[in-house]
């Protein structure tokens, strides 16, 4: 009877287990299923390499009025002085490393525990699974039930932390409406880069699944909370684009940093609009 069968315990088997249809191939997909995980892995790797270099560089992150988003807020005594900028010397002279490391931990944690990125790196780096219906190479699998992956559940705290970081980056963007002599009411190409970046950062942050849950998803009766219901719907619309926003904001934040780097190293001068 189809209801009565016990699962057989053949841990090594998976799709090639004794009870399954006898097919030797680990998968029979004929499309280019490997393309998507390969691109994901390549993209993430490129970002990791770039951001590691930039985070440890501890140089070329400020070109008035722009501060690299990797170094904002700048919380150590060894920060480059930025007029009006978010550099508060919470960490004294004993901190000899790059100040980026102090703050990057938050956006890094936010993205590392993000439901989209989890999918991306589980598939791209861990091959767990590499693609749908393609057998994974691991003998054992316990998912997010145990340490350390059970820590993924703290995603919402990183969300709470990501909001003030995004607020500070917004402040940086406001500061970008100055010219290099700190006079207000000016705009350059960098301002535009910052505007796009902060827009994408906010969209990515607010489209987060934890955010969707907190603003309304946890409710049982939407009709009793019309305002939160509206917010939930709005976040839901953004959330449907979470993957696109994750990539777009990743690229934009790197681009904003690169832009500052190029200005700071004198590769070119910021084209000013007014």
């Amino acid at each position: 009877m189809a209801t009565g069968t016990e699962p057989d315990l053949d841990p090594a088997g998976g799709v090639r287990g004794a009870s399954r249809a006898a097919i030797a191939a680990p998968h029979l997909r004929t499309d280019r299923w490997w393309l998507s995980p390969a691109l994901t892995a390549a993209g993430l790797l490129a970002f990791v390499v770039y951001s590691t270099w930039r985070a440890f560089a501890n140089a070329d992150y400020y070109a008035a009025p722009y501060v690299s988003p990797f170094y904002s807020p700048c919380l150590a005594e060894n920060c480059v002085p930025m007029k009006g900028g978010p550099n508060w010397e919470i960490f004294g002279s004993w901190w000899g490393l790059s100040p980026a490391l102090l703050i990057l931990i938050f956006p890094l944690g936010f993205r590392l525990t993000c439901y989209y990125y989890r999918k991306a790196y589980y598939r791209g780096f861990w091959a767990s699974p590499p693609a749908c219906a393609v057998a994974e190479p691991h003998k054992k699998y316990s998912g997010e039930t145990r340490f350390p992956l059970i820590l993924q559940n703290i995603h919402r705290y990183f969300f709470y932390a990501a909001v003030p970081v995004a607020a500070i980056l917004t402040y940086d963007t406001v500061l970008a409406f100055r010219d290099e002599r700190y006079a207000w009411g000016h705009m350059g190409l960098g301002t535009l880069v910052f505007l796009v970046n902060i827009g994408l950062i906010w969209a990515y942050t607010l489209s987060c699944h934890s955010c969707r849950h907190i603003v309304g998803g946890k409710l049982k009766h939407f009709s009793k909370h019309p305002v939160r219901y509206r917010m939930w719907q709005w976040v839901g619309k953004l959330n449907a684009r979470h993957m696109q926003l994750a990539w777009a904001s990743l690229i934009s934040v790197a681009a904003a940093d690169l832009y500052v780097y190029l200005l700071a190293t004198g590769a070119f001068a910021d084209p000013r609009f007014f």
């Binding site: 009877m1 189809a2 209801t3 009709s223």
Partner: protein, 648 residues
């Protein structure tokens, strides 16, 4: 004596669609140990195909609605041939059955004030159909399935066994009802599709809830399961079938591509504003309003269109006439050369509603056309034509208890039972029928089983005969030696099935003529003889060829019932249209046609092509109770009832 596994249960329910599951929950709640047997996996029953909704006069959308109005609509739809007590019970109890589903977790679409939303449908005076988008049947089956699981969880908490009081035998087929020496139900003979193993369930009461017969026709909205199993089981057990000539052809089935021909396009498309047009772009339904409905339907397109927003002051568009009328009209248009390229007519919502609304209200239709026909219904019209959808006829039952006539312990509910819908069923009345009479069948079966002093004892001869019958396809080696056709190979069951479907479709289809039906009976006799030689390859484990060979017996029996009854009834009424007798005849209103097995003792006298297997009997219907007649205007009644009936 055949050695087969035996199990003992109090009540056996054959079929796990809406009626079967509702019967099973009721029987279990009455304390009967209940077994459900179904051909497919649990939860896959044909009920999932029902789209539009459940008709129940809850009055959520229009407070004037009530059971009396629903009763009237049902009787009108059935052209007054309905077993009126069933129509009455159905109208009265349907709301309770729907509300009960909510307490089991069903989630219907809602009105603004939080109650169950109700939609318009053909033949219903007020918006009456509780629905979930256009997947109401799925909601119904899932809710009942989950209720069964809830009851099993209850049993588990008490006894440690999920299946102590209620068990589903999925992917099993019943081939015979086995009786005791006194002619009472004693159990069922089954085989497990997966392994081919035979087993017998001993039970004092059997509820048949196997659905319909559509797989005897070529163009049908029905799934492979609809082979008339329950009809045949009852016939073979000695119970009569009622008014089998009434087969509903749903007006709107898909007509293209060929592989999906017949798949249903829900009536909600019209209920929500869709219109029918011919190749000249004309809304032809205005030309097809029959006299009995003249006062109820709009005369102009403008009036029909106003009705959607203001039903109080306008009459409904004729696209919402009962299904038989619309199906005939489409048939006539196609015949007159005004059909669509693939032999249907156009059903259009794209010019009537914004794309976004269509996608929200008709999601599965949108999906179905997009996926299967590459048609975007928000941008272009669908092509539709009639498809065999439902059989109004069925096992003759007692209205209150759903007990089959003449066989103690046998009950029937749902499509397989006859009488409720008369000559034509209204859309939405099917799901409510399942719930109302499913519950009644389960209730009375459980009470009957509990009331018997001791269990009926199986007649072992019948068990042996059933086993031999089920094994015959494996030993089919052509004809018996010495006969004329010696040396011919066994028949292919698939070929026989295709020929049967073609014959029924062409000769006993939507429009019927005497010579064609006589031809059909000849063809059926021929097929019956050949079906004796239907052979199969391979072994008993999940062998679809074998399963089909066994189902052929049922389809042939049921098809003969339909053809014989259709030939006998010399009038046109509801789902039975005679080209040679185009008028409705008031004298036929009080006549029921009963089909019985011609030779109940000798199993199937299947090899005798002349005699056939079915004997017809005519009986007077029970007069309609005066207080129910009083619900109608006299002017309306004279159209249906004869002088004598009116006089009394």
């Amino acid at each position: 004596m055949t050695q087969v596994e035996r199990q003992r249960w109090d009540v056996v329910v054959v079929g796990a669609g809406g009626a079967g599951l509702r019967a099973a929950t009721e029987a279990r709640e009455q304390g009967a140990r209940t077994a459900v047997i179904c051909k497919s996996l649990f939860g896959k029953a044909h009920t999932v195909m029902a789209e539009g909704g459940i008709a129940a006069a809850m009055g959520n959308a229009n407070e004037h609605d009530g059971w009396e109005v629903h009763f009237r609509d049902t009787m009108r739809g059935g052209k007054f041939l309905n077993q009126w007590r069933m129509a009455e019970l159905h109208a009265q109890e349907a709301p309770d059955r729907v509300w009960e589903l909510e307490t089991w977790g069903a989630l219907f679409d809602r009105t603004a004030d939080g109650r169950i939303s109700q939609r318009n449908f053909g033949g219903h005076e007020y918006p009456r159909l509780a629905h979930v988008g256009d997947r109401t049947g799925l909601e119904l089956i899932r809710t009942l399935q989950q209720k069964i699981v809830a009851l099993q969880q209850e049993d588990f908490r008490e006894s440690g066994d999920y299946e102590a009081g209620l068990k589903v035998f999925q992917e099993c087929t019943v081939t015979r009802i086995v009786k005791d020496a006194a002619g009472r139900v004693a159990g069922v003979f089954c085989y497990e599709r997966e392994s081919g193993r035979f087993f017998v369930i001993e039970a004092s009461a059997v509820v048949i809830a196997t659905g319909g017969i559509g797989k005897s026709f070529k163009v049908t909205s029905n799934s492979w399961e609809y082979t008339g199993d329950g009809h045949a089981l009852a016939l073979l057990a000695g119970a009569p079938l009622l008014n089998m000539e009434f087969v509903q052809f749903h007006p709107t089935g898909m007509v293209w591509p060929p592989s999906v021909k017949g798949i249903l396009v829900t009536e909600s498309v019209r209920g929500d504003g869709g219109v029918l047009r011919n190749s000249e772009g004309k809304r032809f339904m205005f030309d097809y309003i029959p006299d009995v409905f003249k006062e109820k339907y709009a005369e102009s397109e403008a009036e029909g269109d106003r009705w959607y927003d203001d039903p109080e002051n306008n009459r409904r568009p004729p696209e919402l006439l009962p299904r038989d009328e619309v199906a005939r009209a489409i048939n006539a248009e196609v015949k007159a050369g005004r059909g669509s390229p693939h032999g249907g007519v156009f059903l259009d919502v794209s010019t009537r509603m914004p794309a976004e609304v269509i996608r929200r209200r008709l999601p599965s239709m949108y999906h179905q056309f997009k996926e299967l026909a590459d048609v975007d219904i928000t941008a272009e019209a669908m092509e539709v034509g009639p498809t065999c959808h439902y059989v109004m006829g069925g096992i003759a039952v007692d209205s209150d208890s759903a007990a089959a006539r003449g066989v103690p312990g046998l009950y029937a509910a749902g499509e397989v039972a006859g009488g409720m819908h008369g000559s034509n069923r209204l859309g939405g009345n099917s799901l409510s029928d399942l719930l109302v009479f499913g519950r009644r069948a389960g209730l009375h079966a459980a009470q009957y089983a509990a009331g018997l002093g001791e269990r009926p004892v199986l007649d072992e001869v019948q068990v042996d005969a059933a086993a031999a019958e089920a094994l015959r396809p494996f030993s089919a080696e052509g004809p018996t030696p010495g006969e004329a056709e010696e040396g011919r190979p066994p028949e292919n069951p698939y070929t026989l099935h295709q020929e049967l479907q073609q014959a029924m479709n062409d000769l006993v289809g939507i429009i019927r003529r005497e010579p064609e039906m006589e031809q059909a009976l000849k063809k059926l006799a021929d097929l019956r003889v050949r079906a004796r030689r239907a052979g199969v390859e391979g072994h008993r484990q999940f062998n679809p060829g074998w399963h089909l060979a066994l189902d052929l017996r049922n389809m042939l029996l049921v098809s003969e019932c339909i053809a014989r009854a259709a030939l006998e009834r010399t009038e046109s009424r509801g789902g039975h249209t005679r080209e040679d007798w185009p008028e409705m005849d008031r004298q036929w209103r009080h006549a029921n046609l009963l089909c019985r097995l011609a030779d109940p003792t000798g199993g199937l006298a299947a090899t005798d092509p002349v005699r056939g297997q079915i004997r017809l009997e005519r009986e007077e219907t029970e007069p309609i109770r005066p207080d129910l007649l009083a619900l109608f205007e006299k002017e309306e009644l004279v159209k249906y009832l004869s002088e004598e009936e009116l006089g009394s």
